[in-house]
């Protein structure tokens, strides 16, 4: 039986002075240990949803359950211990003057004892493989390293859930890989449940499940396979499809005898090789 960690019911939110709901009647659950990707065009409501999930905003209607707690102004501080967030801009998330000070910041706020704090900071930095950078100043780090430190800052607080709010969108391809590899390991070691808000569809393809938002509403929900089968429909929403899906589609249109869509390049190479040996 899968344990539900997050549960949204009819969540609706409108910014002051706007006519349209930024998030409009959205319901979904997140299971423990899952990697959920939330995709959508700019302005589809995905960042607002992220803010609602850790109480930076509160829904005007509907409810958000984190574990067994309903998110409200009374529970927000307890909820934030369970939900950590990594934001888009690596340069906006540093508060400490050194890497270890930065990771310790959240713990200091919670009044964790010094000895315990040192240990947790070390552990967190080990997990993101930044333990050699303890006394480095943040501006000496690359974007990918900065985001890994931000993840360590979240880990040190030992939350159940990490929300990545376009956390890789400002990084170069190498930095993006570094961050995603880190998150993947944490997820595989069952340390964290991951909610990743992104428009990088190559990244979403690796998630367990994808939710597509469009104009504040939940447009589709499914496995990457199911979602990327929508092909042109996604493009119509201002999104894209992963390269292997695109190529597979183009090959089929040209009359190459492939059975279905291909979510990864490896599958496509394999199928093409099989096809080639048959003819």
């Amino acid at each position: 039986m899968e344990e539900k960690l997050v549960s949204l019911k009819d969540v609706t939110f409108k910014y002051d002075g706007q006519d349209r709901n930024a998030v409009d009647g959205v319901s979904f659950d997140v299971s423990k240990g899952e990697w959920l990707a939330i995709v959508g065009h700019n302005g589809s409501g995905k960042s607002t949803l992220a803010k609602l999930l850790n109480g930076l905003q509160f829904p005007g209607f509907g409810s958000i359950l984190i574990g067994d707690m309903e998110l409200s102004e009374e529970t927000v501080w307890d909820v934030r211990k369970k939900v950590g967030m990594v934001f888009q801009n690596p340069d906006n998330q540093f508060v400490g003057t050194t890497v270890q000070d930065d990771v310790a910041f959240g713990l200091e706020n919670l009044g964790v004892q010094q000895q315990m704090m040192v240990k947790r900071v070390q552990d967190a930095l080990n997990k993101v493989k930044m333990n050699e950078f303890l006394d480095q100043e943040p501006h000496h780090l690359s974007g990918g390293q900065k985001q890994r430190v931000a993840i360590a800052g979240v880990l040190a607080l030992q939350p159940d859930i990490i929300i990545l709010d376009e956390a890789t969108s400002m990084l170069d391809p190498r930095g993006r890989e570094e961050v995603l590899d880190t998150v993947r390991e944490l997820k595989e070691e069952k340390i964290l449940t991951v909610i990743s808000i992104t428009h990088d569809l190559e990244e979403a393809a690796k998630a367990d499940r994808i939710i597509v938002l469009n104009q504040g509403r939940l447009y589709r929900e499914g496995t990457p396979d199911e979602i990327f089968h929508l092909e042109d429909e996604l493009v119509g929403l201002g999104l894209d499809i992963p390269f292997s899906v695109k190529l597979s589609k183009s090959l089929r249109e040209k009359g190459v005898d492939l059975a279905g869509s291909h979510l990864t390049e490896e599958e496509l190479v394999k199928d093409l090789c099989a096809l080639n040996s048959r003819i």
Partner: protein
């Protein structure tokens, strides 16, 4: 207007303990009306290179020729304003630089700063707005009431209103969704074609470089590792991969398939369409 970098070297914080060599042995000529993509890892020197293109920094050795002006190492430079009018730079996240009360004032700021009378600057603002695909009814709005994509276009219009002959784009699509990315890239390509603006694109995206550029310059550890047409560059993808650089996803896939099938395609495929056609051809040839 031609730009040429000759034997250029740049060191940060020269003659201090923090001295660091950022660029060396750079020789690069950019002919008028071309579209050049500059590619490289973070820290490869591409941002430092672009700052030389309109005199934001001066070389510590060598020279930069911009039209009829030469910026030489060790010489005091005056009147760099003229250069900055000719070479417009669109920095990363240009919308962060919006500051005026209205869109119109923001776009007019550059031209007025360069001495254009207000009425004329307003005309230029309208033209620039049209070039970036926005309608005139946003002129009186606050730039901060616009959507992210619109803000970026307004910021770009502010650069275009100065009517530069050369436009330098530093990761112009960072943070945009796929549709927004394509719209902005297509817009710059159209400007390049229609207005003949020399375009220099600094990017991480090998796909964009392959799709839009006439010439690609690959930076590695502060110097130029390779330059050539996309076709030339990606004909030898192994060299790039060896240096830890990316290749377009089409080329990457082509390499994998070539290896598995034990065949070799006759050319690097730079679009999905082309790749699919080649794959089909290779497989049919195999069946004969």
């Amino acid at each position: 207007m031609r730009i040429e970098l000759k034997d250029l070297e740049f060191r940060y914080q020269m003659n201090t303990p923090f001295e660091r060599l950022a660029l060396h042995d750079i020789n690069l000529a950019i002919n008028p009306g071309t579209y050049v993509a500059i590619i490289g890892h973070t820290g490869s020197g591409k941002s430092t290179l672009l700052q030389h293109l309109n005199g934001l920094v001066k070389p510590t050795k060598g020279s930069v020729v911009i039209g009829d002006r030469t910026i030489e190492a060790g010489r005091k430079e005056k009147h760099l304003k003229g250069i900055r009018k000719m070479v417009g730079i669109v920095f990363q996240f240009p919308e962060h630089q919006l500051f005026e009360e209205t869109v119109e004032k923001d776009i007019c700021f550059g031209p007025i700063n360069f001495g254009v009378p207000e009425e004329e600057a307003k005309k230029k603002a309208r033209i620039a707005l049209k070039l970036v695909g926005l309608s005139e009814d946003i002129l009186e709005k606050s730039p901060f009431d616009l959507s992210g994509g619109q803000m970026r276009r307004v910021a770009i219009a502010g650069v275009l209103a100065m009517e530069p002959e050369v436009i330098v784009l530093d990761e112009p699509t960072a943070g945009l969704d796929p549709r927004g990315r394509k719209e902005i890239m297509d817009m710059f390509y159209q400007l390049h074609k229609d207005q003949g603006i020399t375009t220099i694109l600094v990017t991480h995206s090998m796909e964009d470089a392959a799709r839009y550029a006439d010439e690609i310059v690959i930076m590695h550890q502060g110097s130029i590792f390779q330059k050539g047409t996309p076709f030339e560059i990606f004909s030898q993808p192994e060299q790039l991969i060896e240096k830890g650089l990316d290749v377009p996803e089409t080329v990457r896939f082509q390499l994998k398939l070539q290896k598995e099938l034990g065949v070799r395609f006759d050319h690097p495929c730079l679009s999905v369409e082309d790749l699919a056609g080649e794959v089909k051809r290779v497989m049919e040839r195999g069946s004969r």
